[in-house]
């Protein structure tokens, strides 16, 4: 079975759970190079999203993603709100009216979501941001698609690429966001935005492991 509407809802719920569990961890990462609010902001945003679940439980995937995006924009604040809000709004635009997603659809979603984040935040690869986790994850999906890899394996490879991208931010010197004020002192710390991006993509791989 491809990724169904219920699977999309379960992924959003899993995101809420994993962000709540990692709230303090994300905040610690942010305290080292930012302003110590990323964990609390993402948790607040996804708690608001979970409260909206009853309203969207019978809707198409596009409406689900769009609602997630709008909710994050109005509840997260910081840079994370507009960036993850844009991520899900773009995902919603690519899935409008859809009741299920194939691997090819999911690649299109992640590609559009990443483009939206880049447009909003104007970050490039290597700036020590969430783009550094999302870009390799998108590229891994593209490679999997070309190699006719199965959906669960493709999602695993994508999440693994995001993890490597996330860890790759450790030696980087930040050029965007509050961490950029630190200059060279930002090196040696993992970027909190790249970390939350990895957690979200890992949640997708875990939630959709039985999809085909």
């Amino acid at each position: 079975m491809p990724i169904a509407r219920e699977d999309a809802l379960n992924w959003i719920k899993a995101c809420g759970k994993v962000l709540a569990e990692n709230r303090d961890y994300l905040t610690q990462l942010d305290a080292a190079i930012g302003d110590a609010d990323h964990g609390a902001n993402m948790d607040r945003g996804f708690k608001a999203v979970l409260n909206k679940m009853p309203e969207i439980s019978d809707k198409d995937i596009g409406t689900i993603f769009k609602t997630v995006g709008m909710t994050l924009i109005s509840t997260v604040g910081g840079a994370g709100g507009p960036l993850y809000g844009t991520f899900f709004l773009q995902a919603g635009m690519k899935t409008a009216g859809k009741m299920e997603l194939t691997l090819s659809d999911w690649y299109t979603v992640l590609d559009a979501a990443l483009s939206g984040v880049v447009m909003r935040g104007k970050a490039e690869l290597g700036d020590k941001t969430m783009v550094d986790a999302l870009t390799p994850a998108r590229d891994a999906l593209k490679a999997a698609l070309e190699n006719h890899t199965s959906l669960p394996t493709a999602l695993e490879q994508s999440a693994e690429a995001a993890r490597e991208g996330m860890e790759g931010t450790i030696p980087m010197v930040a050029r965007k966001g509050r961490a950029s004020y630190l200059g060279e002192r930002s090196a040696g710390h993992q970027d909190p935005g790249a970390t939350s991006s990895y957690l979200i993509l890992k949640a997708a791989a875990d939630t959709w492991s039985a999809c085909t």
């Binding site: 302003d35 924009i73 604040g77 840079a79 507009p82 509050r178 002192r185």
Partner: protein, 333 residues
């Protein structure tokens, strides 16, 4: 953590409830989304001036809403930028038909959220101009960073632009004025202690008892350097030097000197700082024609100070002296 709060999650809302009952003659508070706005808004034919940002910098911005200053202020969570729906609803509420100026401090989150709000407001047919304040000389201004942070000059820009809007200047004139103030203002701050964000529960950074951080931001972002605490006069020299050399203030020029408390530093120390800053400015041949001394852009309970210097001309002096009646700043009335 010892704080006069109930629940960490309720801090901002309960603060707003306090403001609402304390100053009903000046401001009203809107909830969900939350913003503070002038009790007599919208004022027909007047440019509305809006600002906003994370909470924890009080009295900025909510304390600066009222006659002669802001028409609305949008508070985010502590040290977190507000969300676009707050700015959008505030913009709609106070627009008097002459357009709305958004004064935005240069932080990535603030910029992105205000940009989204301005796009949405323009979609609703409201004329919006945004001016970014980036006056912190502690940060290297470079294409490879998010640029200088917006700090003390924000308070001065809000006062001066609010006065200009009160004179019924056009949106373009008020926005140009705001850009001029930003171009003429420079700030630098320092911290003696860290601060504790209520929902985090522990200090944002560790600062040993005998050390200080020079060039700190207003959210506990680390600054230029950390060193052993020195006497006040030496600290003031370290803050004034980068300010004075950043824009070539010329001898004979008039300036406003703003000595700010980061929240935990008392007046007695601020006047010691002011005395030395005044002496340094005067020795450089500058004429200190106006001043502001007190806690106006704070960082919760952080001990420390920031110094802002703004070059003045006749127009700026008149606008600075114009009547203002807000919870946090009041004169001429």
């Amino acid at each position: 953590m010892k704080k006069l709060i109930n629940q960490a999650a309720d801090v901002v809302r309960e603060e707003l409830e306090g403001i609402a009952v304390a100053h009903p003659d000046l401001v009203k508070v809107h909830y969900d989304p939350s913003f503070v706005y002038r009790a007599d808004a919208p004022i027909k034919g007047k440019v509305a001036v809006i600002s906003g940002g994370g909470s924890g910098h009080e009295p900025m911005h909510g304390g600066f809403v009222g006659l002669g200053m802001l028409d609305a202020a949008c508070p985010g969570a502590v040290f977190t930028s507000p969300t676009p729906d707050q700015m959008l609803e505030a913009t709609k509420k106070v627009d008097g038909g002459a357009g709305v100026l958004h004064i935005v401090k240069n932080y990535t989150g603030d910029i992105m959220n205000f940009e989204m709000a301005a796009d949405l407001a323009r979609g609703d047919g409201i004329e919006v101009e945004a001016v970014v304040i980036d006056d912190d000389v502690a940060v290297k201004d470079s294409l490879y960073t998010a640029g200088r942070r917006g700090v003390g000059t924000t308070v001065l820009a809000e006062k001066i632009c609010g006065a200009a809007a009160e004179q019924r200047r056009s949106l373009k004139e008020v926005a140009d004025l705001c850009r001029k103030v930003n171009g003429w203002g420079r700030s630098m701050g320092m911290a003696l202690t860290s601060c504790t964000v209520p929902h985090v529960g522990k200090p944002t950074f560790d600062l040993p008892e005998d050390e200080m951080e020079i060039g700190i931001g207003i959210h506990g972002e680390p600054g230029r350097m950390r060193m052993k605490v020195k006497p006040a006069d030496e600290i003031v020299e370290m803050l004034m030097e980068p300010i004075i050399t950043d824009i070539p203030y010329k001898p004979g020029e008039e300036v406003l000197l703003f000595v700010n408390s980061m929240g935990g530093t008392p007046q007695i120390e601020l006047y010691i700082v002011y005395r030395k800053a005044y002496e340094i400015a005067t020795k450089k041949g500058l004429k200190v024609v106006r001043n502001l001394i007190g806690p106006y852009i704070t960082s919760l309970e952080m001990a420390g100070t920031s110094i802002t210097m703004l070059k003045m001309d006749e127009d700026l002096k008149k606008l600075w002296d114009a009547p203002v009646k807000t919870p946090g700043l009041r004169w001429g009335i």
